[in-house]
Point group: C2
Chain length 152, copies 2
Protein backbone atom coordinates (compact mmCIF):
# COMPACT_ATOMS: atom_id res chain seq x y z
CA UNK A 1 0.00 0.00 0.00
CA UNK A 2 2.33 2.67 -1.24
CA UNK A 3 1.79 6.15 -2.53
CA UNK A 4 3.41 6.75 -5.90
CA UNK A 5 5.85 9.53 -6.65
CA UNK A 6 3.05 11.33 -8.40
CA UNK A 7 1.33 12.05 -5.14
CA UNK A 8 4.54 12.58 -3.26
CA UNK A 9 6.20 14.90 -5.74
CA UNK A 10 2.93 16.66 -6.46
CA UNK A 11 2.62 17.49 -2.79
CA UNK A 12 6.28 18.51 -2.60
CA UNK A 13 5.81 20.89 -5.51
CA UNK A 14 2.65 22.41 -4.13
CA UNK A 15 4.22 22.75 -0.72
CA UNK A 16 7.19 24.50 -2.29
CA UNK A 17 4.90 26.91 -4.07
CA UNK A 18 3.08 27.50 -0.81
CA UNK A 19 6.29 28.21 1.08
CA UNK A 20 7.19 30.82 -1.53
CA UNK A 21 3.68 32.02 -2.13
CA UNK A 22 3.50 35.56 -3.44
CA UNK A 23 3.03 37.65 -6.53
CA UNK A 24 5.88 36.45 -8.66
CA UNK A 25 5.62 33.11 -10.40
CA UNK A 26 8.18 30.48 -9.50
CA UNK A 27 9.93 28.66 -12.31
CA UNK A 28 9.63 24.92 -12.16
CA UNK A 29 13.36 24.61 -12.47
CA UNK A 30 13.72 26.19 -9.05
CA UNK A 31 11.06 23.97 -7.52
CA UNK A 32 12.66 20.89 -9.02
CA UNK A 33 16.07 21.84 -7.67
CA UNK A 34 14.80 22.68 -4.22
CA UNK A 35 12.84 19.47 -4.01
CA UNK A 36 15.49 17.32 -5.66
CA UNK A 37 13.23 16.07 -8.42
CA UNK A 38 13.77 15.75 -12.15
CA UNK A 39 12.49 18.89 -13.82
CA UNK A 40 11.17 17.09 -16.87
CA UNK A 41 9.26 14.68 -14.72
CA UNK A 42 7.89 17.39 -12.50
CA UNK A 43 6.68 19.18 -15.60
CA UNK A 44 4.43 16.26 -16.35
CA UNK A 45 3.14 16.16 -12.83
CA UNK A 46 2.43 19.86 -12.52
CA UNK A 47 0.58 19.72 -15.82
CA UNK A 48 -1.97 17.57 -14.04
CA UNK A 49 -2.30 20.10 -11.26
CA UNK A 50 -2.61 22.91 -13.75
CA UNK A 51 -5.34 21.13 -15.69
CA UNK A 52 -7.14 20.60 -12.41
CA UNK A 53 -7.00 24.34 -11.78
CA UNK A 54 -4.81 24.12 -8.73
CA UNK A 55 -1.93 26.15 -10.09
CA UNK A 56 -1.70 28.91 -12.67
CA UNK A 57 1.16 29.18 -15.08
CA UNK A 58 2.90 32.18 -16.60
CA UNK A 59 4.72 31.46 -19.81
CA UNK A 60 7.85 33.00 -21.17
CA UNK A 61 10.92 34.36 -19.45
CA UNK A 62 10.38 35.25 -15.80
CA UNK A 63 7.42 32.92 -15.95
CA UNK A 64 6.61 30.07 -13.67
CA UNK A 65 3.83 28.76 -11.48
CA UNK A 66 1.69 30.15 -8.71
CA UNK A 67 -0.91 28.50 -6.56
CA UNK A 68 -4.37 29.20 -7.90
CA UNK A 69 -5.69 29.59 -4.37
CA UNK A 70 -4.28 30.59 -1.02
CA UNK A 71 -2.40 27.91 0.89
CA UNK A 72 -5.17 27.92 3.50
CA UNK A 73 -7.63 26.92 0.83
CA UNK A 74 -5.75 23.94 -0.58
CA UNK A 75 -5.78 20.66 1.29
CA UNK A 76 -3.43 17.75 0.89
CA UNK A 77 -6.48 15.70 0.01
CA UNK A 78 -7.19 17.95 -2.96
CA UNK A 79 -3.68 17.39 -4.25
CA UNK A 80 -3.60 13.66 -3.70
CA UNK A 81 -6.98 13.16 -5.33
CA UNK A 82 -5.78 14.99 -8.41
CA UNK A 83 -2.42 13.28 -8.58
CA UNK A 84 -3.43 9.75 -7.71
CA UNK A 85 -6.83 9.81 -9.32
CA UNK A 86 -8.52 8.93 -6.05
CA UNK A 87 -7.91 8.25 -2.41
CA UNK A 88 -8.70 4.61 -1.89
CA UNK A 89 -6.76 1.61 -0.68
CA UNK A 90 -8.80 -0.46 -3.15
CA UNK A 91 -10.81 0.29 -6.26
CA UNK A 92 -13.98 -0.96 -4.65
CA UNK A 93 -13.93 1.90 -2.15
CA UNK A 94 -13.30 4.78 -4.49
CA UNK A 95 -15.18 7.87 -3.45
CA UNK A 96 -18.39 8.51 -5.34
CA UNK A 97 -18.45 5.30 -7.30
CA UNK A 98 -21.01 2.53 -7.19
CA UNK A 99 -19.73 -1.00 -6.71
CA UNK A 100 -21.33 -4.29 -7.47
CA UNK A 101 -20.66 -6.52 -4.55
CA UNK A 102 -22.26 -9.94 -4.49
CA UNK A 103 -20.57 -11.95 -1.78
CA UNK A 104 -21.32 -10.78 1.69
CA UNK A 105 -17.84 -11.84 2.77
CA UNK A 106 -16.47 -9.48 0.22
CA UNK A 107 -18.56 -6.73 1.63
CA UNK A 108 -17.26 -7.30 5.11
CA UNK A 109 -13.71 -6.82 3.91
CA UNK A 110 -14.93 -3.85 1.98
CA UNK A 111 -16.31 -2.30 5.14
CA UNK A 112 -12.85 -2.50 6.63
CA UNK A 113 -11.36 -0.77 3.59
CA UNK A 114 -14.08 1.82 3.70
CA UNK A 115 -13.16 2.68 7.25
CA UNK A 116 -9.52 2.82 6.27
CA UNK A 117 -10.29 5.12 3.38
CA UNK A 118 -12.34 7.41 5.58
CA UNK A 119 -9.61 7.64 8.15
CA UNK A 120 -7.12 8.56 5.43
CA UNK A 121 -9.32 11.19 3.85
CA UNK A 122 -10.03 12.58 7.28
CA UNK A 123 -6.35 13.30 7.80
CA UNK A 124 -5.71 14.55 4.29
CA UNK A 125 -8.78 16.77 4.09
CA UNK A 126 -8.00 18.51 7.36
CA UNK A 127 -4.44 19.36 6.44
CA UNK A 128 -3.88 22.45 4.29
CA UNK A 129 -0.71 23.71 2.70
CA UNK A 130 -0.86 26.56 5.18
CA UNK A 131 -0.78 24.04 8.01
CA UNK A 132 2.31 22.51 6.49
CA UNK A 133 3.97 25.90 6.14
CA UNK A 134 3.26 26.65 9.76
CA UNK A 135 4.72 23.33 10.72
CA UNK A 136 7.79 23.99 8.60
CA UNK A 137 8.25 27.33 10.32
CA UNK A 138 8.05 25.58 13.66
CA UNK A 139 10.58 22.99 12.66
CA UNK A 140 12.97 25.61 11.37
CA UNK A 141 12.87 27.60 14.58
CA UNK A 142 13.25 24.54 16.71
CA UNK A 143 16.20 23.47 14.62
CA UNK A 144 17.92 26.83 14.98
CA UNK A 145 17.30 26.87 18.69
CA UNK A 146 18.65 23.46 19.52
CA UNK A 147 21.33 23.09 16.89
CA UNK A 148 24.80 22.82 18.33
CA UNK A 149 27.13 21.64 15.60
CA UNK A 150 26.36 20.88 12.00
CA UNK A 151 28.45 20.30 8.94
CA UNK A 152 28.97 23.57 7.03
Amino acid sequence: MKLSTKGRYGLKAMFDLALHYGDIPIPLKVVAERQCVSENYLEQLIAVLRKAGMVNSVRGAQGGYVLAKKPEQITVGDIIRVMEGSIAPLDCVKEGEAVDCIQFEHCVSRNVWLRVRDSITDVLDTTTLADMCREAEGLKNKEQGTRKTLEP
Copy 2:
Protein backbone atom coordinates in the same frame (compact mmCIF):
# COMPACT_ATOMS: atom_id res chain seq x y z
CA MET B 1 -2.04 4.11 -3.00
CA LYS B 2 -3.42 0.67 -3.50
CA LEU B 3 -3.32 -2.47 -1.48
CA SER B 4 -2.00 -5.47 -3.39
CA THR B 5 -3.82 -8.75 -3.78
CA LYS B 6 -1.46 -10.19 -1.20
CA GLY B 7 -3.08 -8.19 1.54
CA ARG B 8 -6.55 -8.51 0.10
CA TYR B 9 -6.48 -12.23 -0.53
CA GLY B 10 -4.61 -12.86 2.68
CA LEU B 11 -7.38 -11.18 4.60
CA LYS B 12 -10.02 -13.01 2.59
CA ALA B 13 -8.42 -16.33 3.41
CA MET B 14 -8.06 -15.56 7.09
CA PHE B 15 -11.60 -14.30 7.24
CA ASP B 16 -12.82 -17.48 5.58
CA LEU B 17 -10.95 -19.56 8.15
CA ALA B 18 -12.45 -17.41 10.89
CA LEU B 19 -15.98 -17.86 9.56
CA HIS B 20 -15.49 -21.62 9.61
CA TYR B 21 -13.37 -21.70 12.71
CA GLY B 22 -13.50 -25.00 14.55
CA ASP B 23 -11.63 -28.23 15.15
CA ILE B 24 -11.37 -29.57 11.65
CA PRO B 25 -8.83 -28.10 9.28
CA ILE B 26 -10.11 -26.50 6.13
CA PRO B 27 -8.48 -27.45 2.85
CA LEU B 28 -7.16 -24.52 0.88
CA LYS B 29 -9.07 -25.73 -2.15
CA VAL B 30 -12.30 -24.94 -0.36
CA VAL B 31 -11.12 -21.53 0.76
CA ALA B 32 -9.94 -20.70 -2.76
CA GLU B 33 -13.26 -21.72 -4.24
CA ARG B 34 -15.31 -19.83 -1.69
CA GLN B 35 -13.22 -16.72 -2.10
CA CYS B 36 -12.85 -17.03 -5.88
CA VAL B 37 -9.09 -17.03 -5.84
CA SER B 38 -6.56 -19.20 -7.64
CA GLU B 39 -5.63 -22.08 -5.36
CA ASN B 40 -2.00 -22.15 -6.43
CA TYR B 41 -1.64 -18.47 -5.79
CA LEU B 42 -3.37 -18.67 -2.44
CA GLU B 43 -0.97 -21.43 -1.48
CA GLN B 44 1.89 -19.01 -1.82
CA LEU B 45 0.11 -16.40 0.19
CA ILE B 46 -0.94 -18.65 3.03
CA ALA B 47 2.62 -19.94 3.24
CA VAL B 48 3.55 -16.45 4.41
CA LEU B 49 0.85 -16.53 7.05
CA ARG B 50 1.93 -19.96 8.17
CA LYS B 51 5.57 -18.94 8.50
CA ALA B 52 4.42 -15.97 10.55
CA GLY B 53 2.62 -18.36 12.87
CA MET B 54 -0.85 -17.10 12.09
CA VAL B 55 -2.24 -20.36 10.76
CA ASN B 56 -1.40 -23.98 11.41
CA SER B 57 -1.43 -26.57 8.71
CA VAL B 58 -2.34 -30.25 8.73
CA ARG B 59 -0.84 -32.26 5.93
CA GLY B 60 -2.23 -35.24 4.14
CA ALA B 61 -5.76 -36.23 3.26
CA GLN B 62 -8.41 -34.49 5.36
CA GLY B 63 -5.76 -31.91 6.06
CA GLY B 64 -6.00 -28.18 5.70
CA TYR B 65 -5.52 -25.00 7.66
CA VAL B 66 -6.74 -23.64 10.95
CA LEU B 67 -6.21 -20.28 12.57
CA ALA B 68 -3.40 -20.44 15.11
CA LYS B 69 -5.36 -18.17 17.44
CA LYS B 70 -8.97 -17.37 18.08
CA PRO B 71 -10.60 -14.88 15.69
CA GLU B 72 -10.86 -12.42 18.59
CA GLN B 73 -7.11 -12.46 18.93
CA ILE B 74 -6.21 -11.77 15.32
CA THR B 75 -6.46 -8.24 13.99
CA VAL B 76 -6.58 -7.15 10.39
CA GLY B 77 -3.45 -5.17 11.14
CA ASP B 78 -1.59 -8.36 12.02
CA ILE B 79 -2.55 -9.88 8.71
CA ILE B 80 -1.75 -6.85 6.59
CA ARG B 81 1.61 -6.35 8.25
CA VAL B 82 2.55 -9.92 7.48
CA MET B 83 1.25 -9.89 3.93
CA GLU B 84 2.38 -6.46 2.83
CA GLY B 85 5.56 -6.34 4.88
CA SER B 86 4.46 -3.18 6.63
CA ILE B 87 1.66 -0.71 6.95
CA ALA B 88 2.95 2.53 5.53
CA PRO B 89 1.90 4.81 2.70
CA LEU B 90 5.61 5.50 2.16
CA ASP B 91 8.84 3.79 3.10
CA CYS B 92 9.96 6.73 5.19
CA VAL B 93 7.15 6.11 7.68
CA LYS B 94 7.54 2.38 8.18
CA GLU B 95 6.86 1.36 11.73
CA GLY B 96 9.90 0.84 13.87
CA GLU B 97 12.47 2.04 11.38
CA ALA B 98 14.82 4.99 11.61
CA VAL B 99 14.88 7.41 8.72
CA ASP B 100 17.46 9.90 7.69
CA CYS B 101 15.68 13.05 6.78
CA ILE B 102 17.74 16.10 5.89
CA GLN B 103 15.39 18.61 4.32
CA PHE B 104 12.92 20.12 6.69
CA GLU B 105 10.40 20.37 3.88
CA HIS B 106 10.66 16.67 3.47
CA CYS B 107 9.97 16.21 7.12
CA VAL B 108 6.83 18.28 6.93
CA SER B 109 5.46 16.02 4.23
CA ARG B 110 6.61 13.12 6.30
CA ASN B 111 4.58 14.34 9.23
CA VAL B 112 1.51 14.20 7.06
CA TRP B 113 2.27 10.65 6.03
CA LEU B 114 2.95 9.72 9.62
CA ARG B 115 -0.48 10.90 10.60
CA VAL B 116 -1.96 8.99 7.68
CA ARG B 117 -0.14 5.86 8.70
CA ASP B 118 -1.30 6.17 12.27
CA SER B 119 -4.88 6.63 11.23
CA ILE B 120 -4.67 3.52 9.07
CA THR B 121 -3.08 1.37 11.75
CA ASP B 122 -5.64 2.64 14.20
CA VAL B 123 -8.45 1.19 12.09
CA LEU B 124 -6.66 -2.03 11.24
CA ASP B 125 -5.43 -2.75 14.75
CA THR B 126 -8.85 -2.32 16.27
CA THR B 127 -10.59 -4.67 13.87
CA THR B 128 -10.39 -8.37 14.61
CA LEU B 129 -11.50 -11.30 12.54
CA ALA B 130 -14.20 -11.86 15.14
CA ASP B 131 -15.47 -8.33 14.48
CA MET B 132 -15.67 -9.17 10.80
CA CYS B 133 -17.55 -12.38 11.50
CA ARG B 134 -20.05 -10.51 13.64
CA GLU B 135 -20.48 -7.98 10.88
CA ALA B 136 -20.97 -10.75 8.35
CA GLU B 137 -23.63 -12.29 10.54
CA GLY B 138 -25.36 -8.95 10.74
CA LEU B 139 -25.26 -8.48 7.00
CA LYS B 140 -26.64 -11.93 6.41
CA ASN B 141 -29.61 -11.38 8.72
CA LYS B 142 -30.31 -7.98 7.31
CA GLU B 143 -30.23 -9.42 3.83
CA GLN B 144 -32.67 -12.18 4.73
CA GLY B 145 -34.96 -9.74 6.45
CA THR B 146 -35.23 -7.16 3.72
CA ARG B 147 -34.84 -9.31 0.68
CA LYS B 148 -37.94 -9.39 -1.49
CA THR B 149 -36.95 -10.91 -4.78
CA LEU B 150 -33.63 -12.29 -5.85
CA GLU B 151 -32.44 -14.45 -8.66
CA PRO B 152 -32.51 -18.13 -7.61
